[in-house]
């Protein structure tokens, strides 16, 4: 099925999943509770088959996860956003839907400390066991020369 833009997509999703789907420009924000079902629906019914990227951002008060999913058939892209709390962050894993989510979720876990529930092999990936802290969080300070402002 053809979907023109995010407004149409979100209204389509709202008819299926109710409230909790907000459009911010190029991004569609979804609440954690509905996220897994929406992703499954996008993949299996709307043809968004290629999970291109997963990453996270630390906004001091909360974490934001960004998922970029592409549809090869009609060359469409959807960018999903997911907010999660700073204390004990847990989000649903997509690795049972997309095999390609496995390493990327492990990377987010390693560098941000965000846990993915139901991930088959969630542990540190690029850093070693015993490393203190999560480097891409904003409160992780590294000594750095002043690059000027």
């Amino acid at each position: 099925m053809n979907i023109a833009d995010n407004q149409e997509l979100s209204s389509h999703l709202r008819t299926h999943f109710g409230e909790g789907i907000i459009v911010h420009g190029e991004y569609v924000e979804i609440t954690i509770g509905k996220f897994e079902r929406v992703a499954k629906y996008l993949k299996e019914s709307l043809g968004y088959e290629f999970l291109s990227m997963i990453t996270a951002i630390d906004y001091i008060d909360y974490f934001e996860l960004v998922y970029r999913i592409e549809a090869f058939q009609n060359k469409a892209t959807v960018q999903l956003k997911l907010k999660c709390e700073k204390v004990k962050p847990v989000v649903p894993s997509l690795s049972h839907l997309w095999y390609g989510a496995r390493l990327q979720e492990r990377e987010v876990y390693d560098l941000f400390g965000i846990e993915f529930s139901n991930h088959p092999n969630l542990k540190r990936i690029v850093l070693w066991e015993g490393f203190q802290g999560y480097p891409l969080r904003k409160d992780f300070k590294v000594k750095s020369y002043d690059a000027g402002n």
Binding site: H96, L127, W128, E129, P135, V142, S144
Partner: protein, 200 residues
């Protein structure tokens, strides 16, 4: 699609053990090691004239340096460039790249060294037979380069192994590396067996 298999050994155990080794090494090597020539023991230093023997031994040592293939990052490609036909490192008796450290006497450290990699490089160095030399190739190997303030990068190979010659550049051109090797040969030529027989 699902691959659910029982792992043979607990990989968590291995990883915890390896992580502890990395943290230990990180804690114990916060300061750079000094130039290896300062380490020389002077126990059997005597006033015997050994010029000719020195010259012969040093000539043999400096003209067939066998490097071990231990490259971590970008500088690899400039070393391969130096060892391929155009720059032809074989002119220096170095075309035999050994995959085993036990057969090599030169460690060319090319590329960024991370703390996770540091125990392996240290072990590699310790496995090499005496006499052995180390060239730090490139900015990352000298001081960490543009990554020097990163949380996971060793600020220079000299925190882990004693370095003889530093070759600047990011990455150094093959000509620069050859100049570095020429410097190392000059350094080897100054060795004398009256200083404890081996280099260090």
């Amino acid at each position: 699609m699902e691959i659910e298999r029982e792992p043979l050994t607990s990989s968590t155990e291995i990883e915890n053990h390896e992580g502890a080794i990395i943290e230990d090494l990180r804690a114990s090597s916060q300061n750079p090691l000094s130039d290896p020539t300062e380490w020389l023991e002077k126990t059997i230093e005597r006033n015997i004239l050994l010029t000719t023997v020195d010259a012969a031994i040093n000539w043999a040592r400096k003209t067939s340096l066998w490097p071990v293939t231990a490259f971590t990052a970008c500088c690899t490609f400039e070393f391969i460039g130096a060892s391929s036909s155009r720059f032809d490192i074989a002119r220096f008796g170095m075309e035999v790249l050994r995959a085993s450290p036990r057969q090599a006497d030169l460690l060319v450290c090319g590329g960024t060294l991370t703390w996770k990699m540091a125990p392996q490089i240290k072990r590699l160095y310790e496995q090499m037979a005496e006499p052995k030399w180390v060239i730090a190739m490139g900015a990352c190997a000298i001081s960490g380069g543009i990554f020097h303030d990163s949380y996971s990068v060793v600020p220079g190979y000299n925190h882990i192994v004693p370095v003889d010659v530093y070759v600047p550049g990011c990455p150094p051109r093959p000509e620069t590396l050859l100049a570095g090797i020429e410097n190392l040969r000059r350094k080897i030529a100054q060795n004398s067996i009256k200083k404890s027989g081996t280099k260090r």
